[in-house]
Amino acid sequence: MTAAVEAHGVGLRVGGRWLVREVDFAVTPGEVVALVGPNGAGKSTVLRLLAGDMPPTAGRVLIDGRPVDAFSPRELALRRAVLPQQTVLEFAFTAREVVSMGRAPRRSDADEAVVTRELVRTDALHVAERIYPSLSGGEQGRVALARVLAQEAPILLLDEPTASLDLRHQQMIMEVAHQIAAGGGMVVVVLHDLNLAACFADRICVLREGRIVADGPPWATMTERLLEEVFDCPIAVRTHPVRDCPLIIPLATV
């Protein structure tokens, strides 16, 4: 199948420093791809380049075979939705109103139903009528994700969707990513938790100092040698006791 999102030799230089460099990357429908790597490796930058937030200094980003900057903002909004690390609101919109904003590029009769469906899917229906800025970090995170899902774009770019969530909701959100991919969508997700990536991603892309150092299925990429080198700490990799995926255990250094 042809890729819907492609990056060819993409690099971004800011203030004389390359934040990411020579990134070749593609996502095809049905895939959940995790971007992992240490702090400052360029995960969020890659995500932003794929989203078309800024033009790359080198190389090009294609969506459905077309350069990302050839789309109008609305055309792009129908194809990809983006979850930022954090959504801060200065005004007292309710959670439901925030999720409805995801419908802005579409405006159809199904809007209310879609909004409710996504609030249910992210387990946020019970806070729907509450004021967004008054919600806890985890609740805000789920409402923000529901907003992104309500956009109904086939390509989802998620920057640390699980960061402020408890264990149950982390699993739940990754299950949602799976559902989206199973329905023909595709998800690129930045994750800090390697075990979430190993359990739920079809492919893991490991970044280090702005470059991709490994890209493949969890068993191929989550190796002790690679992880120790990239994360610069002793790591053991075992088999997950229940699921057929790697289990990554950081070992104490002292």
Binding site: P84, A92, P105, E129, I131, S134
Partner: protein
């Protein structure tokens, strides 16, 4: 329970910044604002050195529209209403609507509840433009010179605020306020310097701008202001949904299909246009753009599709009433309108600060 008690409770709760606030349905909101507007209008036209009953006011206006309502009025009443009070009240309405909707637009665009044309320096920039055109004797555009000069001054300041206060698609509240202080200071200094090249008569005009007043209202003033304000409001109203998305963040708005660069430029131009036109005719009338959108949000929520039209109506009513107060409280002397709105706005700003501090520890 009485209506007043319910609304007091709602306000206390809202001012404390609790998690959910009951919202007034749009129909009730606009019905109330419509009544307030009509009431303020009839009061403003009717009250003064000579009191004129609302029915007569309506009859006089109808008479000038070519309709005879069969209500008697004297030629003197007609002259007072038509030549003196009406242009002033209509200007108050236009200035109030323009300033309040500009405030609402700026707050949404900057994602910042403290953005106000006066507070961030756009009004003083417009005043500087207007004063410069007067003091330097520029008349190239005839009667339109003043509003155009004010518009240019306002636009230049708005663009400066935008470039200076914004960083990485966000505007910190403190940065915005500090940029506003700096620009207000610079525009004030510029206005002060111009008084040295101005004649005595021109200096009186400068003082008028710095305090804000509708004392010089004429129908010519109305016709010079109306097109700017009408176009500004009509175009701003189309951007309600885009402003809602701006509240999520500029990048997020773009992800949701808003052509943020274009919309941003358009909104800056619109607010400069409306503020410039208001300043040209009434001088610096501060805080209207701060107070009105805040009050509307308290009762109706932050949705800009409601907030923008409701702010325009509320601002019109507020400035009409403030001007009524300005010209009647110390009659036959007149207080500057800008002083009245500042008397309302100063405490309001403090209240807002206390509330924010209680709710989230202050503006970071």
């Amino acid at each position: 329970m009485s209506l007043a008690a319910i609304s007091t409770r709602r306000w206390t709760r809202a001012l404390r910044g609790t998690t959910s606030v009951p919202r007034t349905p749009p129909v009730a909101l606009f019905a109330a604002l419509g009544l307030l507007l009509v009431g303020s209008f009839l009061l403003s036209v009717g009250i003064g050195a000579v009191d004129i009953a609302p029915a007569q006011t309506v009859a006089i206006i109808a008479h000038h529209a070519g309709i005879d309502l069969g209500i008697d009025f004297t030629a003197r009443q007609d002259a007072i209403v038509w030549a003196i009070r009406l242009p002033r009240v209509v200007l108050a309405l236009l200035v109030g609507g323009a300033l309040a909707i500009s405030g609402a637009v700026l707050q949404g665009m900057f994602r910042n509840p403290l953005a106000d044309p006066g507070l961030i320096g756009v009004s003083s920039g417009a005043a500087l433009g207007a004063v410069a055109s007067v003091a330097l004797g520029v008349t190239v555009l005839g009667v339109a010179t003043l509003p155009v000069a004010a518009f240019l001054g306002g636009t230049a300041t708005a663009v400066l605020v935008y470039l200076l206060a914004r960083h990485d698609g966000k505007t910190e509240i403190v940065t915005l306020v500090l940029v506003g202080i700096a620009l207000n200071t610079m525009a004030g200094a510029g206005t002060g310097l111009l008084t040295y090249v101005a004649t005595d008569e021109q200096i009186r005009a400068v003082v008028f701008w710095s305090l804000g007043s509708l004392g010089g209202a004429t129908w010519e003033g109305v016709s010079a202001t109306l097109p700017f304000v009408a176009v500004g409001i009509a175009l701003a109203l189309r951007r309600g949904q885009a402003l809602n998305l701006f509240v999520l963040g500029e990048r997020e708005a773009r992800h949701l299909g808003v052509d943020t660069e274009r919309v941003r430029l358009e909104l800056i131009a619109l607010t400069a246009l409306m503020t410039g036109a208001s300043v040209a005719v009434a001088g610096v009338v501060g805080f209207v753009g701060l107070i009105v959108p805040h009050l509307v949000r308290l009762v109706a929520g932050p949705d800009h599709r409601l907030l923008l039209p409701a702010s325009a109506l509320g601002g019109a009513a507020l400035v009409m009433l403030a001007d009524l107060f300005a010209r009647t409280v110390a009659a036959p002397a007149e207080l500057p309108l800008g002083v009245i709105t500042a008397l309302l706005g100063g405490p309001f700003l403090l209240l807002l600060m206390l509330r924010t501090r209680r709710a989230q520890g202050g503006w970071g």
